[in-house]
Amino acid sequence: MSHAVPLERDRASLPATNGRWLDWFGVIAVVALIASQVNGVLTSPPDRDMGHLQKIMYVHVPSAWNAFIAFFVVAIASLLYLWKGQEKHDLLAASAAEVGTLFTGLTLALGSIWGRPTWGVWWTWDPRLTSTAVLFLTFVGYLALRSFVDDSERRAQWSAAVGLLGALNVPIVYMSVKWWRTLHQMQSNPSTVDPEYVIGLRTNGIAVLLLLIYFIMKRYRAARMERLAEHLVERAALEGP
């Protein structure tokens, strides 16, 4: 079992030595999001059942999509780390997990806000929402594990294993909850989206995706800087006064 390859040698190895390009990308993402939301809210007609509540879909659904994308990144990065042992994959996984937790939490909150006036309840044990709740708890467990382990290689190996198993579990949870609900003859929420809303969903989805990428890359960059600082301190300590 190869030991993790220490990533950093010097500042030049950092991704994008100047964070300015990244922040401009962030500005673009925010502008795109505002534009998509304004467009969605102003141009989409009220739904025949939900009325204006439909507009919540433009924030709830893209959050959900991107939460799952983030978790997908965690799974891939974890796999890469277990395979190649390069620290940067561990740092990428951790960054994606943090951002994923944000979007998962938002998905749950927004789903709740949408559900209350629509169904009369703050929570339904709907398969998608419930899977998202389990995903949220899995992310939180992942981050808790990282905070309770001090050794960097141990933290990386353990996080990768936990992240992968967690990812494996999500589709199984979704299927289980779906069966569970049909067994008890629960009404399933209609999942068909009127075609007139699809464009709004897609543009918002892409805008949030841009923001997701920005957040992950910025967090990743900060993580690399932290790691480099740790390395430099270690090396200085080893080499003595």
């Binding site: 040698r9 010097d10 500042r11 030049a12 964070g19 962030g26 939301q37 809210v41 009325g51 204006h52 509540l53 507009k55 919540i56 924030v59 709830h60 959050s63 951002v99 944000l102 939490g105 938002l106 909150a109 927004l110 806000i113 949408w114 209350r116 006036p117 009369g120 923001l211 957040f215 910025k218 967090r219 960059r221 900060a222 993580a223 800087m225 932290e226 480099l228 600082a229 740790e230 430099l232 301190v233 090396r235 200085a236």
Partner: protein, 49 residues
């Protein structure tokens, strides 16, 4: 539930508070990381491999 518009507003508010809040946290974390890196570089007298 006549006043459904309140819920729509609440949803967008929650979204933006979440995003802006995390964005602020990111800037704070980045600043902290840069400070750590500057300190560490000074300590190591800027040695590079």
């Amino acid at each position: 539930m006549r006043d459904t518009n309140g819920f729509v507003v609440a949803a967008y508010l929650v979204m933006w508070i979440g995003l802006i809040g995390y964005g602020l946290r990111l800037f704070r974390v980045t600043r902290e990381a840069r400070r750590q890196l500057d300190d560490a570089s000074r300590e190591g007298k800027g040695m590079t491999v």
